[in-house]
Every structure is written in C-alpha cells, then in structure tokens.
Symmetry: C2
Subunit: 465 residues, 2 copies
C-alpha cells in the first residue's frame, strides 16, 4: 500500500483498560472484523491475500482518474463544500440509471446517499433496532453487517441457506418461534446476489416468497446488493425491490442498499438507500448525527464518470477480470483440495465459501497459513454466535490468477497437513506423548456434512468451470 | 449550488407513518438540525444566509484543486481502494503537524481518522453512552453534537457560559447534583475556542479548572476544536489536550476532536480523534460498523496539499477574509440593531450569538425573515430542551461583507417590527380585535437579561471593532 502501514494492530485487544467503568454496554457486543484486523498483515510483501473483499482498483486507471478530477475542477468550490444530508441531485440521477440497468424502476426521490453501504447498514440498525429486538440474517452473513447491527444489541437469528439462497421455510419457522417467544422481529437482512460470504444467489421464487413472508409477519426486508452487476454467467434475477414494485406498484417494505464500491471504487466511500419516504426521513435524521452529509467531492467525481464515461464498459471489464480469476480459483480448488473439502460455485461477485471437515478449525489454522504466505477469512466471523469454525471465505477479485492458483495450492497443503495430523492421532501413531484416542466418527453422514453438501459442491464434482 | 437543489424538505416531517411500530425508540430522541432542514431554502437565489456554518471554499481555488488531484493521480489505485479503519499514515503525520502548530504535542499513534468531526461525536457517544447516562454540555451547545448524542438517549445538562466560556463552578454544582441523584456522568463536552454557537472562548484558568474537575469526578472531557486556528485577534490559548499533557506527561482523559473542514474544506469529510489507545480501540470497533474506513481519496488529497502546499498561508488568508466579515457584522449590528438586542464578540471562528428581548421568539420570526431574504439559525436548537427561543446564531464566514451588512440591516428591521408590534399590543392599540393586555413587565432586571449581559455585549457598547 505505497509504504502506508496500518497500525491498527498496535491497539490493545483486551477490554481491561483504565476507562472500563465509563464505556457503554454496547461496546461489549461490538467485535472487530477479522478482515480489518488482518489488514496490516495482508499488506506484507509476498502474502497472497484471499482474505479481503477488495475490488481491483488498478483496473480504473490513472488517466480515467485524471479525466474526472479535471472535469470537476471548475466546480471545486462546490466539491469542497458541505452538501445536503441526502446527497446531491446529480448522483441520485446516476443511481436511478444504475438501478434501472439492473431492472429496478427506481425513483429519484426515494434515493438517499450514504458514506458507503456500510453506513446504510448502521443507519438502518439505528432507525429500527432497540436492544432485544430480533432480526433474521442468512447463515453465514456479511460480518460487517453483523458488526453494524451488534452495536444496537439485537438478537440475531441465522437462517440456513442452500444453493438457491436463504431457505424460506426455515425463515418462516424462525419467525413463528420468535413470535411465540414474544420477540419483536424488525427485519430480514439478505444479500441475494453472490452472497457475502456464501457466494450463492437467491432464486426468483424464493425472492417472491421472502416478500410474502415480510408482508405476512409485517416486517422490513433489507436487501443489500453490492455485487448484483458482477455476474459472469447465468441470467440476471430481479431485485426484491423490483419484485415489490411489480407486485404492489410502489416501494414499501423493501429497503434496498446499493454501493459504488464494486462498480466504481470503494475509496470514494459512497453507497445509497432506496426506500419509501417515511423510512428515508428517519434515516436522514440518523445521518445528520452520524456525519452530516457524504463527500461532495466523491459524489461529483462519480457523477462525472457515470455521466461522461462508459461505466457499463468498465463493469464489463471488471467482470471479465473477475471471471477469469474465479475460474482460476475453482480450477485450483478442484485440482489441489483434499477430499472432504467443499466449496460454492459463485456465478458472480467476489467470494467462494469453502467448508472443511467439521473437526478442523479455520481460525486456529490461519496463523499457519499466513506463515506460509496465504491468507483467508475464517468462517466464524460470519455468524453472530461464532459457529462454523470449519469454514473459510476465499476472495478472487484482488489477486491475479497465477497467484490465486499458487495460494490455493499452499492452502490445500496446509489443510492436508492438518487432516493428516488428525488422522495420525486417530491411528494412535502420535507417540511423542500419550494422546487419548478420539471416539470413532459415526458412520452415518454428519449434519455438518449434509449442510456443507446442500450449500456447496463436492471437491472435483465437475461443476467448477 | 450549481443547479443542485436539496430535496430533503420533501420528506414528511411528522412521525405518523406506516412503519411507526417498527422504529426504534431512539428515533424519538433524534431531531433534524434546523440548519440541515433549511439547506433547500438557503440555496434559493437572493437569500442572504447567515444561517449555515459554511467556510468559504471559493478561497481555495480551482488551480490548487487541480494541483492536488494531479499529484495523487499516479496513486489512483490506492486513492480508490479501501484503507485501514484508523486512517492512512500520511495524513496522521499531517495531523501531528497541525496540532503542533496549535501548541499540542500530539503523537501519531494517538491519532484516529474519522469521516468529519461529526462522526467522531457519534463514535464518542456510541462508545461511552448508555441510555440514561448523563453528560455536560455548554449552554448553548453545537446542535450537531446534541443530535449525535441524542441518538444514544443520555440526559444532557447545559452548563451556563459567560464571556470566558463554561463556568466551572456551575459545572461542579451540576456534577454534585447529578451524583446525588445517582446519575452516571460520562463526559463533559466543550468547544473551547470561538464556541459554536456562542462565539466565546474559554480562558486558560478555566481550562485548567475543567481538567481538575474531570479528574475529581473521574470522567472524560471531549474537547471539540474545529475553529482554534481561526483566530483574528488576541493570544492563542493552549488546548485542554496540551494542558493535560503538560500536567501529567501524557494524554489521558482528554479526547480531542479536530477537523479539516475549517482549515481545508468540509467537502472531503475528514476529521480526527486524538486520544489514549484504549479509547481509540473502542472507537475503532465503532467505526468499523459505522463506515469501515474514511475515504482514501480525501485523505490523500489533504496529505498532498498539507505536505506540498503552504497550508499556513491558506489559513492566514481565510482568517483575513473572515476577520473582515466579522468586523462588518459587528459594525452592522452596532449600527442597525434596536436597543435591548445583545451579541457576543468572537475573537475568531465563524459565529456571533445574538440575544433578543426575552418575549421574542426567533423560531417563530424566521419565516418572516426568510420572506425578506435573510436567514439565521434560531437559538432553541442549541439546547437539548429547546429553551432560549429568543436567541439566534449569525454566521459571518460564508457571505461577503456587503451582503452581511445588508442582511443585518434587514434582520434588524424584522426584529424592530416585532418589538413594535409587542409595544403596540401593550399600549392597547391593537384595535382590530380585543387583545388581552399583557401583564406589565417587572421593573427589576430579568434573569434572561442578566444572562444575556453576562455572555454578550450590549448593543453599541463600543467593543465591536
């Protein structure tokens, strides 16, 4: 990172500090994201990072950057000034165009600018969640969303997914149970396309069923769609926002979150909410307290590029790059991973979700992998309760294909060694010290294995090309 | 604003909406800032706005903007990428330099970047405040801070000020009372230099006394210092952060907030916290959920300007512009304002605080003023309880001197008309309908008048040059 080193890791990681008696209780519910804490390590030379959620910003190019900064220079006074809390009109027009390109008939007056979609997650939680309220998230779910929500101390129920996304019958069961227990469920949070971290996409039928469930249980759906336009194969599916407008004629209980981080660049920190005006009014009040307004400079740069440049061509270019890298990752997984390792087959986006045998702990294994110069994100951060330690998220958008191949090869070797160690122990050959023989595994298929097979594909299953 | 119109005012201002049963309780404690709601009106052509807190971003210039964007173009890939949550190292070096220029021996590892100082206010509240906790603020206090704090539902006690800032004996009394009532006071919030909205500056003795009080009652001081370098006259005073380091050898219970909004530009949305590492760690966790990281683009632009440009000369230029405008405002106030109107004499910053006779309501008067093409911020937004309706905040940084003069002339006329109306009513000459004669005012000086005289100077009192 150009000689910039993150020093976040210098901060103490324990809660015992001088002002413990002054901190709010909510601080106890807030975790640092594994990816954020890893950032210092990941900028180490030689590391093959499959950990971040970084798009490839080198693809944009210095010349394009020069063009848009030159374009807004004559409006520098406005670019440098405060703006309206909800955003400038120009960028709202751009957002309507972007949402229409994905098939959502958005309205300019229903668009509200945020400082990245991350801020939208924070504001949605701020507006809807009292301590003890419940929400439904996919299992696994985006760690940054779980962190944003956790600050408001809700109960988080994870709904299992399979290859077609969140399972509606499971969502319904959870909602019925929550109601019986007197919990107030405020919203369902979903990343329907190329889910982070699962990599799977919710089917059209399930999208419609989720809308029906939201109406039945009178709650909101937070549709977080950062990756929708990054599709490499298969047919695009309508957003839940589009389906709701189609069914009811207007935006109602779908709060749609979008971002420029993946189709333009994350460094400008700009995202948006598309929702009905009553909800936007609350979000506006929340944003005033949070950061007054988003950067005019960023908004005007984006507007310049999307109005004057060929943004569709840029997204196609990104997709070509990412598809090649996804293919490289899937091929390398199939070539190198030991039997009993499973992974998903994303049709787009940035991530593959891998499932190791249930006795392996990806969190405990990470230092070993980093010492071998490869990094990933352990699965437990994607569950509010920290379960699923045998999962890992693998990113394919940031690193070149050859490095991805090499990274997966190393990672497979690290995993294989762990598996062999276990196997040695089971055979009682760990003779250095007396090791209690583990109970033999039951012969019937374990629930973890069944879940892994539902969500992912088996190694070398032949779908990976 | 270049054809951009804010549409925030289209949002419904009532709480009765379809999803009232889903919103969090905290939404009830969150208000929209009058200045934010006014933004649409204020961009109307012909309006002389003394309302905003806008610096004059025209002063920076298109050429300087071109220079810094060109300078970072070769690092575009980094400028467009995610960055570390706590900020890039380069801008932290700049901040140490800026704080040293104001006499504070800052340490790079105690600096944490935020999306404007407004985000720092939100994060500080997030980290320290449980519902029902108490905090002390100046009376009046920055409305944006009150809004940020209100989302976490604390009790806010306003401590009165005089011309030397917050009155320590009053702060102490409030703390003793709060302790007796079993409240947990978490921090004292202060804007010591050219306070927003009061315009007054806390004396050196009071700064030291406030530090002693914080130690005695074992709480934190939030020192919010956006305007410290905008001094037009008088000797600079040490920050509370500097005094603490001088007294104890290290940063401890002073959490210092700075911003580039006033010495560079607000459109980049960048501020910072300087605090001890334990507190910064909590703030880091809070920021990850709030917006992941601040804009690399903004950070690199600032770093380029502060490392390559003459930022001190730029601040001197801003101060020359603002001093002339302040002088114009003070002269116009003295020339046009009716007797019984008072105002403060700021030695720097952006604001004058005016006090009308206690029977006048500046909020009710605002539509009349706007219809005459002049705007200000009514005082009640600067008190958590909405008191002091007879105050107004007047900004002198954004509008040219000639317009300031004209704006004050119009405003004085609007106030005079209101005073005459009242006088007419008192004399019983309102003959169109039977108006009950108000009780005659007591002859002894009212408490409001005494308070106004303590904080402000009397019209034409001769200190205004």
């Amino acid at each position: 990172m150009n000689g910039e080193k993150a020093k976040d890791h210098k901060m103490p990681l324990v809660d015992l500090d001088r002002f413990d008696f002054l901190y709010a209780n909510r601080v106890k519910g807030m975790k640092t994201a594994a990816t954020r804490d890893l950032m210092a390590t990941l900028s180490r030379p030689g590391i093959i990072s499959l950990a971040g959620g970084f798009p490839d910003t080198k693809a944009f190019g210095e010349e394009a950057f020069r063009t848009i900064s030159e374009d807004i220079a004559s409006d520098a006074a406005q670019a440098l000034q405060y703006g309206p809390t909800g955003g400038l009109e120009g960028i709202k027009d751009v957002i309507v165009e972007v949402m229409e390109a994905e098939g959502t008939p958005a309205q300019q007056e229903n668009v509200f600018i945020t400082t990245g979609a991350q801020q939208a997650l924070d504001l949605v939680a701020k507006v809807f969640l009292d301590e003890g309220d419940a929400i439904l998230c996919e299992g696994p779910s985006y760690a940054g969303a779980l962190n944003a929500f956790a600050a408001y101390r809700p109960r988080i129920a994870h709904v299992p997914m399979d290859r077609a996304g969140m399972i509606p019958s499971a969502a319904r069961e959870t909602l019925v149970r929550a109601k019986k227990q007197g919990m107030h469920v405020k919203f369902i949070y979903t990343v329907p396309n190329f889910q982070n971290p699962g990599g799977v996409t919710m089917s059209r039928e399930r999208r419609k069923e989720l809308l029906a469930i939201a109406r039945e249980f009178d709650l909101i759906i937070i549709e977080d769609n950062p990756y929708g336009m990054l599709r490499f194969e298969g047919e695009p599916l309508p957003t839940l926002a589009a389906l709701e407008i189609e069914e009811t004629g207007d935006v109602d209980r779908v709060v749609y979150l979008g971002t420029f981080s993946k189709i333009f660049a994350p460094g400008v920190r700009l995202g948006w909410v598309h929702a009905q005006p009553g909800i936007l009014h609350k979000i506006n009040v929340g944003k005033q307290g949070a950061d007054l307004c988003s950067s005019n400079l960023s908004q005007m740069m984006i507007t310049s590029f999307f109005k004057n440049g060929d943004w569709n061509a840029y997204v196609r270019r990104l997709n070509a790059i990412y598809k090649e890298r996804r293919d490289a990752m899937l091929a390398a997984l199939a070539e190198y991973m030991p039997k009993d390792v499973y992974w998903t087959h994303p049709e787009g986006g940035l991530f593959v979700w891998a499932t190791l045998p249930s006795y392996l702990d990806a969190t405990a294994m990470l230092p070993r992998a980093i010492s071998k110069n490869v990094a990933y994100v352990p699965g437990e951060g994607f569950y509010a309760g920290g379960e699923h330690k045998n999962n890992m998220r693998l990113n394919f958008s940031f690193v070149e294909s050859e490095k991805i191949r090499r990274g997966i090869e190393i990672l497979a070797e690290v995993i294989r060694q762990r598996m062999e160690l276990r196997s040695d122990l089971e055979r009682g050959t760990g003779q250095m010290r007396a090791v209690p023989k583990p109970k033999p595994k039951a012969q019937k298929k374990s629930p973890e294995k069944e879940a892994a097979e539902a969500l992912t594909e088996r190694a070398r299953a032949g779908r990976d090309g």
